[in-house]
Subunit: 136 residues, 4 copies
Amino acid sequence: MAEAFTWTTRVRYAECDMQGHVFNAHYLTWADTAHTEMMRAAVGPHPELVASGVDFVVAEARVRYRAAAGYDDEIAFDVAVAAVGETSMTTAMTVRRGADTIAEIEVRHVCVDAETFRKRPWPDHVRAGVARFAAA
Amino acid sequence: MAEAFTWTTRVRYAECDMQGHVFNAHYLTWADTAHTEMMRAAVGPHPELVASGVDFVVAEARVRYRAAAGYDDEIAFDVAVAAVGETSMTTAMTVRRGADTIAEIEVRHVCVDAETFRKRPWPDHVRAGVARFAAA
Amino acid sequence: MAEAFTWTTRVRYAECDMQGHVFNAHYLTWADTAHTEMMRAAVGPHPELVASGVDFVVAEARVRYRAAAGYDDEIAFDVAVAAVGETSMTTAMTVRRGADTIAEIEVRHVCVDAETFRKRPWPDHVRAGVARFAAA
Amino acid sequence: MAEAFTWTTRVRYAECDMQGHVFNAHYLTWADTAHTEMMRAAVGPHPELVASGVDFVVAEARVRYRAAAGYDDEIAFDVAVAAVGETSMTTAMTVRRGADTIAEIEVRHVCVDAETFRKRPWPDHVRAGVARFAAA
């Protein structure tokens, strides 16, 4: 039975634009850190994975912006691993402020060799680790 | 008959990550500027639109990463207006380095009142202006 | 007798450049957040200050880079209020990874009216609040 | 007799904060690109320098903010090489909007081995190249 993984952040001044809201691109920067922290909990620190010769790249990202986030808001990312293929992994994130959904994000990563950046299968320990946060 | 709009940029050092490639979120920051410049050519400067009481927000963004862009690369965004609804506008961008496609981006904007941020129809002059760059 | 204020962050992937180190400009973005959090502890949340008609701008910033910070490092900012004038405030920060100094930063802010951005004296409660973190 | 080197940029929406002005840290990101372009004109593209085993890091940066820059403003950086030592180089930049000075920036770089990041003397061709843009 899958657990939830949640990463939280507080909106920084530098992340807000002239409309007083978080600039749209920063959601992907946050998503990157949310994914890193989920992977840390599931598999271990990213630098250790890279040192073992395995890395990943982003192949596709999609953000649906539901409501604006403002300066100093506390934001939570609920992160679930939606699908794991031979070489790809899709992570689904619900971004919320309290109970209000701010955005929905999907990011598809592809496993690569850390030196050549060629596509390769996910190692078994990665596959096993992320099962803990599989989407319900 | 539709024209092409192209915005170009050169990859900055600060935009590249430890893999030596452009970090994924920066594509949306670029897309924002590419959209701003397309709108400048089609409608006029964004600050003038805002001064007239009209603004827009990003409702959805999608990036498909096809190939890595590297430091100092010259990158072109071919920008086309794919669909204009009552309140929404979808812009399709092909990101390329010379003839090589680096990424495909779709961004859907929604027209809002510049004060209240409530959804409102696109003004006629915006609708007329962007027709010039309608997708074929 | 002055207390220490410390803000911590972990180096994000997006903050590292091709040399594998934190890109130099990000130290000022961090310094902004470190200052915001010091002010929160000393005076209260920044949005409340702005709502009361008071804001501040950066007049000068100086960074001395002593050692490189790397991906996933845990970084601490020791923040002290070095000087408070009629309208200006200088904050001194030591950036460290454990006991190792990474950088030294000084930022001078100037108090302004939140509407007009004209220089104005610091309110008494700000002056009193930050005394808590005055440099030794 | 020294020439002037000027790099220009237009303020992007994402670079402006809730005060409607360019966020302070972005001046160092711009300064990095202004320096890169001055070096391109003086010495050649940065990737070629790195390929030859030579790189540089920022040792110190200082910004004096004189006036606010706003969205869509066209900004010019006048770049001069103020001092070249055995291993260090100080670049002075005046940031202006038309004739108005927006900021003054000094950045001190140190030449390093591109592999080990150990300090090393500037190669002669770098020293000779930047003489063209020496401060008056």
